[in-house]
Amino acid sequence: MTGPSAATGAAHAAALALGDDALVLSHRLGEWAGHAPVLEEEVALANIALDLLGQARVLLGLAGDEDELAYLREERDFRNLQLVEQPNGDFAHTIARQLYFSVYQRLLYERLAAGDGELAALAAKAVKEVAYHQDHAEHWTLRLGDGTPESHERMQRACQTLWRYTGEMFQPVEGLDVDWQALRDTWLSATADVLGRATLTMPTGPQSGAWSAGAGRQGLHTEPFGRMLAEMQHLHRSHPGASW
């Protein structure tokens, strides 16, 4: 790899991976604007999206020019997890995605905040915001899982459907000094705890598809991501330099 220095290159790779997670999930949550089941949830999801967008701006700023990275990269150049690019689906799908990701993000950022890497300052700040995201996802998981037969069934289905995208979260990210196996163990027990209290069963089956060789972190994405990017980047690409 060529670059200013190996350490800087690795730190940039890490900022790009985490920045893309935050950016893409922020955009997905933003898609709920005008469509959420109740006004309070509309506001809640938009606020979570705003937190993530703020984190993305800092992280992408560490990796390069935030606007160029967000609006002018091709699909294959994005390093986000496939989990965060999954379509919103019904409200249960969005909550399951939030639960899986917020538990992961909180555990990961707690570890980064305790270290002395370039991302420590951002992680220390963001982890306090993510605690609220996790709290929000947990409460909805409990309400839906331990709610009506219909909400229980749909929440269970959402957890199962997204399960195969969770394995990728624990593949090492270049530039991050983290014990990924321990992170995975903690994530599994934290997730099992919430699902258990919500009367849901822990999904079974592989945590990644046979075709997904690391997938998102290597630039391989699922089909809906291309459509999401087309919408996200359309304005900037069609009208370069446009401003309000």
Partner: protein, 188 residues
């Protein structure tokens, strides 16, 4: 506006010299004290009853030999859009004081906490109808045990309606005594 991230301490000999020079800030001059007071008196754009000083987001004002004024701001939430307006307002106030070269940088570390809001700031929030954040008693970032007092009637019999309200920093609650909904500046 620039977000400054600290250089890693092991970045090499070139960075060590710069870090050492930075680590000993000179004592504040009378002009710096005045500029800091001016910048700190700027009202928060979304909660105009509070000044930036009372909100605890003003981290420092430094006057360089070149005449450039550098102001350090920290965001409440990472994505808070109000910080751009804060920066513009500070620049305007300091320009009016005759400082031609003003730059506002954002710093993330140490992370802002609701404990940074002054006692006077908390009093003003309550008077404005927003329940002030409770002080942190433990390391937990999401305290749920203590009740939040209704800023309208003073009752502690209040319930959470939504964890997120009109801005990222507030939660929406309702008072069971007077039935009024109200915003709560939630603990961070």
């Amino acid at each position: 506006m620039v977000t400054r991230t600290p250089a890693p301490e092991t970045a090499g000999p070139a960075a060590t010299g710069a870090a050492a020079a930075k680590s000993l800030p000179a004592a504040e001059t009378p002009l710096e004290t005045e500029l800091r007071r001016l910048a700190g008196s700027v009202p928060d754009p979304e909660l105009p009853v509070l000044t930036l000083e009372e909100l605890g987001v003003l981290r420092g004002v430094h006057l360089h030999d070149t005449g450039r004024v550098e102001v350090e701001l920290t965001p409440t939430y990472t994505g808070c859009p109000a910080i751009e307006t804060m920066a513009a307002d500070i620049e305007r106030v300091l320009h009016n004081r005759g400082m031609a070269d003003v730059s506002v940088v954002t710093v993330l570390s140490p992370a802002w906490s609701t404990d940074d809001i002054s006692a006077e700031g908390r009093r003003k929030l309550a008077e404005f109808g927003i329940a002030p954040p409770r002080p942190h008693t433990s390391e937990g970032p999401v305290p749920v045990a203590l009740s939040v007092r209704c800023p309208h009637c003073g009752s502690t019999d209040t319930e959470l309606l939504s964890r997120f309200s009109s801005t990222a920093c507030k939660a929406l609650r309702r008072c069971a005594s007077c039935r009024e909904p109200f915003d709560h500046f939630k603990e961070l």
